[in-house]
Structures are given as C-alpha cells and as structure tokens.
C-alpha cells in the first residue's frame, strides 16, 4: 500500500496524536511551535510591563519617597549609562568592562563544558571513574564558588587566571551532573535497536549515547551560564580592576547610584543574551529536542 505523499502528509498531521504515544521520558513541549500572532503578543506584553515599571519608578522618584542618591530617576540612570559608555568611569570605559567580563565568562564557561562533558560521559560509562570522581563532586558541589576566592587569590594572585578558574570550578559540577543524567536517561531500546543492527560498543557510544545526551547537556549549559555569570560578577566585586562587577562596586563606594543601577541592568541584559545565545545554538544543533 504505497501512500501518496499528500494523503500521507494529512495522515502525518492527523496522526500526531497517535504518535503521541511517545516513548516515556519524551518531553512534551515543542519549542518554536508558537503561532506568530501569539509570539508577538507575548513580546508586546513584555514591553508593556517594562514600560509600566519604568513609569512607576519615575512616579516614585517624583514623589520624593527616597533621597535621590538612593534612587535616581530612570532618566538619570540612562544619563549615567551614556556617560559611562562614552567617557568611561575611573579610566575604564563600559565597553572595556563588558569585554573583560564577557571574555572571562566565555573562557571559564567553555572550559567547564569542554572538561565537564567528557568527565560526565566517562563517569556514566565507567563505574570505576564514577567511584573515583563522585566523592569530589559531591563534596565540592555544595561549596559556593565565592568561598574559593581567597584561596585562588593566594594561589594565582589577582590576574585573569583565578577568575576564569573560579568560573570553571563553579560551573563544572552542573555540566558533569547533567551529562551523567543525560546518559542515564537514555531509553534502553535506543541501545537495543543499535545492538541488533550490529553496532559495536564504540559505535553505540558515538552514534547513540552522544547524540542522545545532547539535550541534557544543553539544559546543563543553560543553567551553567547563569552560574558562570553570577560567579564572575561576584568575583569582580571582590578582586578586580576592570569588569562589570568592579564597575558596580567602585561606583557604589562613591555613591554614584546611577552608574550602579546602569551596571546592574547591563549585567542582567548580558546574562539574558548569553542564555539566548545558547538557546539559538541548541535549536540549530538539536532541532529534534522535544520531538522524540
């Protein structure tokens, strides 16, 4: 019974429900399936909410509920932002601060991914490796990355290395754990299909385990980038001479609240953009996510 592509296409849409008898563990949400109208409606509402918040902020400032030093107006913050961006603050422009922070996060985070994923894969595949590494993981995980700062300063000084290492150390547990979780959640049948088609161990690893683990790895990356970013900013608050955390800290000591708030907003936007970037990569690498 050869099926005409067109009728079959109908069948394909009709039968999505039948195909809904998806293997257990399949995620039900399908990214990017939102209708265009709905998407723009959602974005529009975000913009409206932000504008409303700004208006409220302006109102509170106008009512003089707080001293201007504590809560400058949105316009003042915008002004501080423009000044820091063009003329800089304490000899460093906003662009330099952003560049330093982003590069530190970029290297530390990528290091955590590049090291964490293979470690996770090894731990999932080998009981021995798991037994050796897991105690360190379990002990190290509850330690807030900031607790390492004094030690890292003693060991590596105040340069770039301790900051990058701190990000790496803070982010690597989540990468390892997500990777292990990804391997562990692979349905047995995915392996069995490959085995009865004649796959050897190494082939199964490359052709089944690795791709199957990607969704969990990306989930780990989305959580990890948040950890990396907050670790970095915190590190810069304590020990740095350039960077967004340093900027915010310095401005605060001089009661330049406009710059502090502008800096915080930049930190927030950059963090959001980084996660967005990972989402875009994810969509390109695993378009099948949620469609198992």
């Amino acid at each position: 019974m050869a099926v005409e592509p067109q009728t079959a296409l109908l069948e394909a849409t009709e039968d999505r429900r039948a195909a809904g008898s998806e293997p257990a563990g399949a995620e039900s949400h399908t990214p990017g399936r939102e209708s265009r109208v709905k998407r723009w409606g959602r974005r529009g509402s975000y913009v409206l909410v932000m504008l409303g918040a700004l208006a409220l902020w302006e109102l509170i400032v106008a009512a003089h509920l707080f001293p201007a030093v504590a809560l400058p107006s949105p316009v003042h913050v915008l002004h501080s932002f423009a000044k820091t961006a063009t003329k800089g603050y304490l000899g460093k422009t906003l662009g330099q601060d952003i560049l330093y922070s982003v590069v530190r996060v970029g290297i530390g985070f990528l290091g955590a991914v590049v090291l964490g994923v293979p470690i996770g894969l090894l731990m999932a595949e080998s009981a021995l490796v798991h037994r050796v590494v897991d105690p360190f993981l379990q002990l190290g995980r509850p330690v807030p990355p900031l607790a390492y700062i004094p030690l890292f300063v003693v060991w590596f000084g105040l340069g770039e290395l301790p900051k990058i290492l701190l990000i790496l150390v803070g982010t690597i547990p989540i990468m390892i754990i997500s990777t292990i979780g990804g391997v562990r959640s692979i349905p047995q049948q995915r392996y069995e299909v490959a085995r009865c088609l004649g796959a050897k161990r190494r082939q199964i690893f490359a052709r089944v385990t690795l791709p199957s683990t990607l969704p969990e790895i990306f989930t780990g990356m989305k959580v990890g980038i948040g950890i990396a970013w907050s670790t970095l900013v915190a590190a810069e608050l304590i020990a740095a001479s350039v960077g967004l955390g340093w900027l915010v800290e310095q401005a605060a000591t001089q009661l330049r609240t406009g710059i502090v708030i502008a800096g915080i907003i930049v930190i927030g936007i950059l963090g959001y953009l980084m996660e967005l970037g990972i989402r875009l990569v994810e969509r390109a690498v695993i378009p099948w996510r949620g469609n198992v």
Partner: protein
C-alpha cells in the same frame, strides 16, 4: 528446514535483576522450532514471558538453561541476521528517515549501498519522506520506517514485539496487510508477538499460545487459512474455530494464574510446600506428556498438530488439571 530451534529453554531472573513488578517475566522449558520463511505468531497475556522469549532469540537475554540454535549455531549476542522490531518505532530523532534506514548498513563500515536504502524506503511507501526527520511522520509511518531499517539488513528472521500495539485500529489494520505483503515478497521468517487473538490468527502460519508464571507454551495451533489473508476471513468458520480454541486456552491460563494467587492453590493435591523452582520444573514435562496422551478434546476441524515434546497440546483437560497446575504453583514466582 528450521532456521530457529529452541530446546527446553528456561530463563529465571535472579533477585534484584529486575526492579519491581514491571520486570521481565520468566519462562520455563520452552521448546519451539521455526521454519525458513515461516510466520509464527506468539499469543499470550501480559506477563507470560512472550517478550522474554523474543529477547532470548534476539540475543538480549541469555537463557538460564536450554539451547537456542539459530541457523545451526548457538545464539550468543545480538546480530543483524535477527533484527527486532519494537512496539515503538525507536527511530533516532537526530537522523533523517533515510539515515535511520541506513543506520545498520553504516555500522558495517565501508560504502553504504544507498540504492538499496532508497529501494527499501520505496518498498515501505515512504519515498516522499526520505529527508524528513522521523518525528514529522505519523505513528504508522514511523513504524514502517522502523521496518525498512530492519529489512535493509536482509535479516533471516524478523523479531516483532507487538509492533502494532501502540497504533490506532485503522493504521494497525493497514500495517498488518502491509507486513503480510512484504513478508510474501521478501522471504524472511517472522516471529511475531501479540496479545491480540485476531492479529495472531490473521498473520501467522502457526500460532503459539503461552501460559503464565512461568511462561510456557500452552497450545500450538497451525493456521491453515489460505493466503493472501484478508479481513473478511475473520468471519469464516475456520478462523472462528481457531479463535475459540485460542481464547479457551487463554481463559484457562488466566484461571490457573488466578487460582494460584487465591487460597485454592494450597488445597490442590501434590503442591509442594516449599515450592521452589527446581522441584517443580521436571514435572512440567510429565504433566505435558500426560495431558497430551490422555487428551481427547483436542481433535477438531482445523487439525491440531503436535510437534512432540515441550508442546502442551491442550491444558483444558479436567483430569489433568491438578497435575498441570502443580509445576506452575511450584514456580519461583508462584504468587
């Protein structure tokens, strides 16, 4: 000539081997043969070990005792001459339909015969969908792609584990007809597991009905209906007679299973008090021999045949009920 031969195959799972009650079912002293290009259907209630049986043939499970010979040699590991088709298609979502079908060939190294891949995609009626990711296809189409992925390996036997169980009635019927037409064309043996009586009769040359706890073959029936088979045959007397026998056996099996869990088991004569596997197992053979020998209700219009040892022709015989129950009650997982 037999392509597959199982002799007294027993599989018990050690404690802790299977977590919880969803674990695989045990089977006890199953013997069967499968001829070249034969279509064998295995019918049984859930938990009777029919999937376990199939997994042993596939090489995923190793029998505790007994022999499994495939094409003359012992089955030790999975291999592409015995490809399994699962209830779910389990296509790889990161590969296109074409790459999924070619999956097994690519594993062999060397150049993939893409012409053969495309031909097989054509055979299963998916030529327009080669480049699609599998999740864009309907459940039925996905299962056809899974079939193509298996058949492209030129297996000697297809092991099908309720492959149409998750599909809606119409798609299921389409695929049943489709599978039969494929099988007639491609010359491959099929071992087809199902819990659907009609499906088992409609598809098979021969049908095995399995009993539970432990899994064993309760009834073997040749299905002497002409081919090609059609839905209309399901109303013919011959079909209905086979169906009646199969259902009777299933009912008997269910009653026995219920009898064990109830208080009745203790009242039965000859049930060993300790009731652990080793003691019960040898008696299985006796019980079967007895029932085969004494059985007089087994004869019928469709011509039951016995292939000898290990095949219990009829478990309905009232006189043999006590004995027939005995090894079951003595099974390791009796209750």
């Amino acid at each position: 000539m037999a392509i597959l031969e199982m002799r007294d195959v027993t599989l018990r799972f050690g404690e802790g081997r299977s977590g919880g009650d969803a674990g695989p079912a045990t089977i006890e002293r199953v013997s069967l043969e499968l001829g070249d290009n034969e279509f064998l259907t295995v019918l049984g209630p859930s938990g009777c070990g029919k999937t376990t049986l199939l997994r042993i043939v596939a090489g995923f499970e190793k029998a505790t005792s007994g022999r499994v010979l495939f094409d003359g040699s012992e089955v030790k590991a999975p291999g592409s001459e015995r490809v399994m088709v699962f209830q779910q298609p389990w296509l790889y979502p990161w590969l296109s339909v074409r790459k999924n079908v070619a999956f097994g060939l690519e594993l062999q190294g060397g150049r993939v015969d893409w012409k053969r891949v495309d031909e097989m995609i054509d055979v299963v009626g998916l030529s327009g969908f080669s480049s699609y990711p599998p999740y864009r296809l309907s459940g039925g189409m996905q299962q056809r792609a899974a079939l193509a992925r298996a058949l492209v390996m030129s297996p000697k036997i297809l092991l099908m584990d309720e492959p149409f169980g998750a599909l809606d009635a119409q798609t299921r019927q389409d695929l049943q007809e489709f599978l039969l037409s494929l099988w007639e064309r491609l010359q491959v043996a099929v071992m087809f597991i199902t819990h659907d009586v009609e499906e088992a009769i409609l598809l098979g040359d021969r049908m095995l009905v399995m009993g539970t706890r432990p899994g064993c073959i309760a009834l073997e029936l040749p299905i002497e209906l002409p081919r090609p088979r059609t839905e209309q045959m399901m109303l013919e007397p011959a079909f209905l007679e086979i169906r009646r026998q199969a259902l009777d056996t299933l009912r008997e099996v269910a009653l026995r299973a219920a009898g064990i869990t109830g208080t009745g088991a203790g009242d039965l004569p000859g049930v060993p008090a300790d009731g652990i596997g080793g003691g019960g197992a040898p008696e299985t053979g006796q019980a079967q021999q007895n029932s085969t020998g004494q059985n007089s209700t087994g004869q019928n219009s469709t011509g039951q045949k016995s292939t000898g040892q290990g095949v219990n022709e009829d478990v309905r015989l009232p006189g043999a009920a006590g004995q027939a129950t005995e090894p079951v009650a003595g099974s390791p997982r009796g209750a």
